[in-house]
């Protein structure tokens, strides 16, 4: 150490703060993000170019890869919120979210499809609100169904949600008689694209609202404490007056609401739906986002911010792979390689290694202090 420690006595030194960050749970997704940023910076700095151009609607909009990432990552980030809570409280994952998004999207389209493009904005808004409320209610009910299986019948979450995973897309198709719907009203597309006159994609605002809502909920309720306690030790939580079943149910319902929001955005993006592939494999990405955030998939403590960053890392990776024009046949393999790297980084063994390192670091510091005295 050549540089003297400036503030050892008065408070946190620079090194302490760095040390704290270094061992923080946010480290893993942030390192992953940094890795992708550097990769793109070397390959092609223009990746980060953002331009303000006039769009087909006649308004100025922002465009560029970074905008696309935060735009397209919105659904995943929203799902990651719900998935993190479900994981924390029930120690398992919901694999039916992709199918549930299909159902939510199908409901929205069912309400909107017959409308003439000439109806007034106010009337359309009423229909949209109705469609949204309906899909939130139905998705929450499906979430409650999953949650009931997990909480009351003590079925493993992955097995319980397998039912909806299998049936969901058929239900989505059945809601609209398997019609291939396409909505012509451009105003419906506002929610998946741009609001007139606003240069930032709407899904970015929607996901930001979701994040603010969950932040407020975590701040002003005991959702965090309860779901963590239930996930770590359900029996002990019960003896402390918590109702573990209700908490598990609640997290599944919250995930259901997240699913509804995602479904709404998804169908609004292209104003259409393909029941078999809408939000295809998004459940795996959502689980991956939780894992990338360094959260224990076995339940318990969680870090919401890390999960959300994890979600954007996955989208960053997807966009990067598109940008690099990886061959169609190999794209999954490339994704797998990066994922393996990231998952190993967040594996308990590596984390334990890091924390051992941390202990040594602290021990050596206390040693130094002692000798100094």
């Amino acid at each position: 150490m050549t540089t003297p420690e400036p503030k050892l006595k008065t408070g946190r030194s620079v090194k302490d703060i760095f040390g704290k960050l270094f061992f923080n749970q946010l480290l893993i997704p942030l390192v992953a993000l940094l890795f992708l940023v550097i990769l793109n910076l070397f390959a092609d700095p223009s990746f980060f170019k953002i331009t303000l151009e006039k769009s087909s609607t006649g308004f100025y909009i922002l465009s560029g890869n970074l905008i696309s990432i935060i735009d397209n990552g919105s659904e995943l980030a929203i799902l990651a919120i719900g998935m993190t809570l479900v994981t924390a409280a029930s120690g398992g994952q919901d694999i039916s979210v992709g199918s549930a998004i299909a159902i939510a999207g199908s409901i929205v389209l069912r309400v909107i499809k017959g409308l003439s493009p000439s109806i007034s904005g106010g009337e359309l808004a009423l229909y949209l609100i109705f469609a949204f409320v309906l899909c939130v209610i139905v998705s929450a009910l499906f979430g409650a169904f999953n949650g009931a299986l997990v909480a009351f019948f003590k079925i493993q979450p992955m097995v319980a949600t397998l039912i909806l995973f299998t049936a969901g897309r058929s239900i989505a198709a059945w809601i609209n008689n398997n019609e291939n719907i396409s909505i012509n009203d451009d105003r419906f597309k506002y929610f998946g694209n741009f609001l007139p006159g606003i240069p930032v994609p709407t899904p970015v605002f929607i996901s930001a609202i979701c994040m603010i809502v969950i932040a407020v909920v975590l701040k002003f309720t005991n959702l965090r404490l309860y779901s963590q306690a239930v996930g770590i030790n359900s029996s002990s939580s019960r003896l402390n007056g918590i109702n573990p079943k209700m908490i598990k149910l609640l997290t599944f319902i919250i995930l259901g609401v997240c699913v509804a929001v995602c479904g709404f955005i998804k169908v609004s993006r292209t104003a259409s739906i393909t029941y078999a592939v809408i939000a295809n494999n998004i459940e795996m990405d959502a689980i991956l986002a939780v894992a990338l955030g360094g959260n224990n998939l076995g339940g318990g403590k969680f870090n919401m911010t890390a999960s959300i960053i994890g979600a954007y890392v996955i989208q960053f990776l997807t966009t990067t792979l598109f940008k690099f024009k990886v061959s169609s046949t190999a794209i999954s393999a490339y994704k797998a390689v990066v994922v393996i790297f990231l998952i190993i980084l967040s594996a308990p063994v590596v984390r334990r290694g890091l924390s051992n390192l941390k202990n040594k670091y602290i021990a050596s510091r206390s040693q130094v202090k002692k000798e100094g005295v």
Binding site: E179, N180, V277, N280, F322
Partner: protein, 321 residues
């Protein structure tokens, strides 16, 4: 309270199971005099829009008015389909019409059918079995669909073709056929280049992201070749977002496949340029074979490609699915 919740959930579960059993049970009915009794084994109509149109067509053709006594069975599982075929043989149908879920395992049951004097006609999907075991097989030629589209594209006489090629699920027959035609052409022609070739796995939002990535990188392109209508729609959404014009006489040519009604309407409006058909209407071919005999073993259906400049409203109602 707890009991009540448990009861409700169990009732729901049992209800769901009962429903699925009903769906499996199929439709019964007695053989009536003078009618041709056909057992139709198809994939689940909920599988895709194509299948829905196909099923609707079959149901419209094989009716009592047309002289048929039809029995339908749906499954996406090969073994269930084979079991259903055996049941139809026992029920002594005159014809077995099969759209097989898998290609293998059919030899035994088809031999039984042959011994029982029941004629078999395959539609939409082929199987790995001796040609003696069936009367005819009516199929689409995906490669031909691709070739038609590519030759239409060539006929546009652009000075340069810069193509975003959005593929279906890798390895599916539609993807292989439709990609093959384009790949061959691009390899042969100097002024045809692929700007981006990527699989969107039939999903519109992935297609949108792929197109978005090309736009964000600032590369120029003038053709979107999407292997189905939904992916074309996703790509177009990205173009709209970036204010890039598309359609007849515009900057980017848009090609889709499957002839969804809404896609054909886009053609009529001039927003897209071309849509290739994947014909789900095999019923009339089968009807013809049953009534007039088979002329050849493999019948390749006629499949159209629609140009935005020549498509009519009638085409939309007639061919849209």
């Amino acid at each position: 309270m707890k009991k009540l919740v448990k009861m409700i959930v169990s009732t729901l579960l049992i209800g769901a199971m009962a429903l699925s059993f009903c769906a499996c049970a199929g439709k019964g009915g007695k053989k009536e005099g003078g009618l041709i009794k056909v057992g139709i084994i198809n994939n689940d109509p909920n599988e895709s829009g194509y299948r829905t149109a196909n099923d609707r067509d079959m149901k419209a053709t094989f009716t009592k008015e047309n002289g048929y006594d039809p029995y339908f069975y749906y499954s996406l599982k090969n073994e269930e389909q084979i079991a259903a075929a055996q049941k139809f043989i026992q029920d002594d149908v005159d014809y077995l019409l099969i759209s097989a879920a898998g290609t293998s395992g059919w030899d035994g049951v088809l031999e039984q059918a042959k011994k029982a004097g029941i004629k078999v006609i395959l539609f939409d999907r082929t199987i790995d079995a001796s040609e003696d075991l069936y009367e005819a097989s009516i199929v689409s030629d995906m490669a031909k669909e691709g070739e038609q589209a590519v030759s239409w594209l060539a006929s546009q006489n652009l000075s340069e073709y810069k193509i975003i090629h959005i593929q279906g699920v890798m390895g599916s027959s539609a993807q292989i056929g439709r990609s093959g035609a384009l790949d061959t052409k691009v390899a042969a022609e100097a002024n045809w280049t692929i700007v981006q070739q990527q699989t969107a796995e039939w999903s519109e939002e992935t297609a949108q992201q792929i197109t978005q990535a090309v736009i964000d990188s600032g590369e120029s392109f003038n053709v979107i070749y999407a292997e189905n209508d939904n992916m074309a729609k996703g790509a177009v959404a990205a173009l709209d977002k970036a204010n890039i014009s598309h359609g007849v006489g515009k900057d980017v040519i848009v090609i889709g496949f499957d002839c969804n009604t809404w896609a054909l309407e886009e053609l009529v409006a001039g927003n897209w340029n071309y849509d290739g058909q994947c014909n789900p209407f095999q019923a009339s071919y089968i009807d013809d074979i049953i009534k007039n005999g088979a002329k050849q073993k493999v019948v390749i259906m006629e499949e159209k490609g629609f140009d935005a400049t020549t498509i009519t409203k009638d085409d939309v109602t007639k061919y849209g699915i």
